[in-house]
């Protein structure tokens, strides 16, 4: 987020301002004004980032499960969208973006009531209003929660899922968003995360992996046929994700500016590179270029470029895309089998692994003229620190929350319900 570096620059300026401006009295000219172009772009971005979750993630995941669990899978993303909206409104936004705490925000925006005092004024050195910023950020909180559901597919109780996602969003998502974007300690370290490689994707990936391990494997994993029931749904979902990601990365410039424009260009390049990388790797090793492979690669590329979008040039994006595509392919096919966990729809393999690759390579390929930070070994070490701290925090807190939810309502459906399928067992509905 560029707004924070702007904030620091303005703070430095403010310190000098009395001396410089006392004579001229021209300070009023530097007050940010609402820019209708920026407002329009941010509201557009908000809409298309919401589209990434419903129906994007919902379809992407629903196509990969068996026919008996399709509605339950769609339901998880759709319900997460509604649930996290309210969680974010009640306290999530406040904990992420209110106050200057090092580790977590404050309660100054509880129920968003504090926001209404300045709702129509430019917000926090930006040229947009706070309701727009708040809603844009809300769509990020929503998609992060929805992404986790992929690793829990086919076997989690719906009540347990809702409880876990609400707690996780408050106690993991909001703090990590605060660390990186809300003025917390990672921002102080200088960790670069333009649009959420760490906050969204590593975060969701680790929570997904922990969830898959705590929940245990699906019944029949490794012996029964669990082939996707309809990959055409997944192709539509992945395509909606690809298109929506222009709002995700482009909107993270929080303005309709040159940075947003470059973010969109490098996003397209990295995504294409990763789709091809996964496709060719699979083609070479397994003999056939699969549909699931090429769309998974595209998503890995989108994830990989997310932290880098406002910091790197096109060639950097190309390398990040190839690396993210190959790494995710390996993690989702080989690593998963070696370590024997059932990350059902590869939330860790795609989002976690590509998130880590993207976060670290952002430190290598950052260009000073683009995002005011030059890449190099020093920046890479800062990036690795950010990644490690996030993985440890998310891993531990996700584990505790899952155990707590297990104690309260039980995490997993009964064997009978799992075999019957979650559509009829949990929701009383099914596909024809």
């Amino acid at each position: 987020m560029t707004r924070l570096s702007t904030k620091r620059a303005l703070a430095a300026f403010a310190a000098l301002a009395p001396m410089l401006l006392f004579a001229t009295g021209a300070a009023a000219n530097d007050e940010p004004k609402i820019d209708t172009g920026d407002m329009a772009w941010m509201m557009t971005s908000t809409v298309i980032v919401l589209m990434m979750t419903i129906p994007g993630v919902a379809l992407f995941y629903a196509g990969m499960v068996r026919k008996k669990n399709v509605l339950a899978t769609l339901m998880q993303s759709f319900a997460a969208c509604a649930l996290i909206t309210i969680v974010w409104m009640v306290a999530g936004y406040s904990l992420a973006f209110s106050g200057d705490g090092k580790y977590i925000g404050d309660l100054g925006r509880l129920f968003l009531s504090g926001m209404m005092e300045t709702w129509d004024k430019p917000w926090d050195e930006m040229t947009i209003t706070e309701p727009v910023f708040m809603t844009f950020q809300m769509t990020f909180a929503i998609i992060t929660a929805a992404l986790i559901t992929g690793s829990l597919a086919d076997r989690m109780k719906f009540s347990a899922l809702l409880l876990f996602l609400a707690l996780w969003s408050l106690l993991v998502y909001s703090p990590v968003a605060h660390w990186v974007w809300g003025g917390g300690f990672m921002d102080g370290w200088g960790v670069l995360d333009f649009a959420g490689g760490t906050v969204v994707h590593i975060n969701a990936g680790v929570a997904g992996l922990v969830g898959a391990i705590v929940l245990g494997k699906r019944r029949g994993y490794g012996t029964e046929n669990m082939a996707p029931h309809n990959l055409s749904l997944s192709v539509i979902g992945a395509s909606l994700l690809w298109v929506g990601w222009f709002g995700f990365n482009g909107g993270s410039a929080t303005a309709s500016d040159a940075n947003a424009g470059l973010a969109i260009a490098v996003t397209q390049i990295a995504t294409a590179a990763a789709a091809l990388a996964w496709m060719f790797a699979e083609w070479a090793v397994k003999g056939k270029p699969s549909v699931l492979g090429v769309i998974s690669g595209a998503v890995a590329g989108l994830v990989g470029i997310t932290p880098a979008a406002g910091f790197v040039a096109p060639v950097g994006a190309l390398v990040i895309g190839v690396a993210a595509g190959i790494a995710s392919w390996w993690a989702s096919t080989e690593l998963k089998r070696m370590l024997k966990y059932d990350d059902s729809l590869d939330v860790w393999g795609v989002h976690g692994v590509a998130g880590v690759v993207g976060a670290i390579l952002t430190g290598l390929f950052a260009v000073e003229a683009i995002g005011k930070t030059a890449g190099g070994v020093g920046q890479m070490i800062i990036q690795v620190q950010g990644v490690v701290v996030t993985i440890i925090y998310t891993g531990i807190v996700s584990f505790i929350l899952l155990k707590l939810v297990d104690l309260l309502v039980g995490l997993r459906v009964s064997e009978e319900e799992e075999v019957e399928g979650l559509d009829t067992a949990l929701h009383g509905e099914r596909l024809g």
């Binding site: 397994k286 096919t333 089998r337």
Partner: protein
């Protein structure tokens, strides 16, 4: 009267139909079926997870003809459904005792 039942590759259905029409075949029944023979199954791979699919999709056609047409029909199906690769399918010929056209009550050869 004989029942001719043939299991063929799905994409050959139109060729078989075109080959049977000139012989005076008045109708046939088609079903989508699954099964295995010498072709066994095939392997599908999803993100590294391999699934052996034991039953392959085939098309079953069934038609009843008079005894004199059996050889011509079998030859037409054999030729039109042939690719020379494993999995081309099989033809079975069975005796049929009676046939009745429901609309008119006609029986046997008149009902075909």
């Amino acid at each position: 009267m004989k029942l001719i039942m043939a299991i063929i590759k799905p994409f050959k259905l139109d060729d078989v139909r075109e080959a049977l029409t000139p012989l005076g075949v008045q109708g046939l029944t088609v079903s989508e079926v699954k099964g295995f023979g010498r072709q066994k199954g095939q392997t599908e791979i999803y993100r590294g997870a391999e699934y052996h699919v034991n039953f392959l999709p085939k098309v079953k056609i069934e038609l009843v003809v008079e005894d004199g047409m059996v050889d011509a029909v079998c030859e037409a199906i054999t030729k039109s459904a042939h690719t020379g690769k494993i999995g081309d399918g099989k033809i079975f010929v069975l005796e049929v005792e009676r046939a009745i056209r429901i609309r008119t009550g006609e029986t046997d050869a008149a009902a075909l």
